[in-house]
């Protein structure tokens, strides 16, 4: 039997603490421990990308990160993208282009797109497809999602 430990994170710029089991999924700490339910669970096995968050600036599937591996990390979830009530440009593009249907994939899709555009501000279509390849949309609304990312890339 393991013991709980005090997990310290910088979540969306705010220091947060939660008691966690070492092997507890970061996804569960965010949703249940910190009440950040914008991060969604899809497959729970790293296939769908619905639980994507940024950890120390890089995209990860939070269902595959044990809490202990996140100790001291900087996490960005979908709740942390807007600032002062204004949507992030990628969020606005998804809204304007209709890049969301049921919405389950949207938080992960937007975080993957934000990270892609940080690394590659003007991606080609194939670069967008590759950057989002780990994020599945169960409504298959991929064309609008591609258009949203393209429009956000200016």
């Amino acid at each position: 039997m393991a013991e709980r430990f005090l997990l310290r994170l910088l979540v969306n710029g705010v220091e947060r603490e939660a008691a966690a089991w070492p092997m507890e999924r970061l996804l569960d700490v965010l949703r249940d421990g910190l009440d950040l339910t914008g991060t969604k669970e899809g497959c729970g096995e790293g296939e769908c990308g619905a639980c994507s968050v940024l950890m120390d600036g890089e995209l990860v599937n939070s269902c595959l990160v044990p809490a202990l591996a996140a100790q001291g990390a900087r996490i960005t979830t979908i709740e942390g993208l807007s600032s002062g009530g204004a949507l992030h440009p990628v969020q606005r593009a998804f809204l304007e282009q209709g890049g969301a249907q049921c919405g389950i994939c949207t938080p992960g899709m937007i975080l993957a797109a934000v990270r892609l555009l940080e690394q590659c501000p003007h991606p080609s279509e194939s670069e967008i497809r590759e950057g989002l390849a780990g994020n599945l949309c169960r409504c298959t609304g991929y064309m609008r999602i591609l258009e949203a990312v393209r429009s956000a890339s200016g």
Binding site: G44, E45, L59, N61, L64, L68, A69, G134
Partner: protein, 277 residues
């Protein structure tokens, strides 16, 4: 059903020597977690004590001397595909890294973890076999090197002594004038496990194949180096497709059938042979 999380110990040592003591004490290595967390989720993670290697800098980094490139076991797929050196000298490995999982998986999945996980479908394995990779293994007793070829001894079995960890993957340099290919056949390039995967390289001179390396994934209980095919094909006219023995022994499973895998594996090799003309 998911494993009961409080049952699982995960310890975070601050140095490699602490980690090795824990491994000697029966802890299993835990790197990026992209395979182990999936096993935990499905209730198949039998072992309960793990040592988290992620923060050990001793296991990171890509370095080189004149003779070889040394890749720390915790090097992620993202680091492999971003490495200028690997892209230039070992392009099949960089390509395999780019076609493994999606971005999030590539950010956490490690080369050493992929080897230790020992899936016959691992896409990084055929390039490592083609490049004559060696493994640097470390334990409290010391360091040893061994060829990667032969490291997988059976389905999900590896030749690691108790107390040992994979510290680095070594690739011999000086490969000039080799023609190479990496082909992954699956339902989708990213985020899909291969039905068949081929890495091959050949050096031709005077219109003949002088040296050839062929390795296949997902067609045997282990990542397969096709030595019988290699020796049959050495000396053949470049661009010809002579008959050659295939060591593939695929099974039918959820992703494909044995028959399809056998046919495609042979055709991938034939395509490569034709391209040498």
């Amino acid at each position: 059903m998911r494993g009961f999380v409080p049952d699982y110990e995960l310890l975070a040592p601050s140095s490699l020597s602490e980690a090795l003591a824990l491994v000697e004490d029966g802890c299993r290595p835990f790197a990026g977690g992209t395979d182990l967390m999936v096993q935990l989720e499905s209730g198949r993670l039998a072992h309960k004590r793990f040592v988290l290697l992620w923060k050990l800098d001793e296991l990171r980094g890509i370095g080189a001397n004149n003779a070889e490139v040394r890749i720390g076991a915790l090097t992620t797929y993202t680091e492999v595909r971003r490495s200028e050196l690997l892209r230039r000298e070992f392009p099949l490995l960089a390509q395999a890294a780019a076609e493994t999982g999606g971005v999030a998986t590539q950010n956490r999945g490690t080369l050493g973890g992929n080897i230790a996980n020992a899936s016959p479908a691992a896409d990084s394995a055929p390039p490592l076999l083609v490049y004559d990779a060696e493994l640097e293994l470390v334990s409290r007793a010391g360091i040893r090197r061994r060829p990667y070829h032969g490291f997988h001894t059976g389905y999900k079995q590896i030749d690691l002594e108790p107390g040992e960890l994979i510290r680095a993957i070594i690739l011999p340099r000086g490969r000039s004038r080799w023609r190479e290919t990496f082909r992954k056949v699956g339902t989708r390039n990213a985020q899909a496990i291969s039905k068949v995967c081929l890495a091959a390289a050949a050096r031709c001179e005077g219109g003949r194949i002088r040296q050839i390396r062929i390795a296949l994934g997902s067609v045997a209980p282990v990542p397969l180096r096709c030595v019988a095919a290699e020796s049959a094909l050495a000396g053949a006219a470049a661009g010809s497709v002579p008959d050659f023995p295939m060591e593939a022994r695929p099974v039918s499973d959820i992703r494909s059938t044995a028959d399809y895998r056998s046919k495609v594996a042979r055709r991938l090799v034939e395509d490569f042979l034709r391209s040498l003309g």
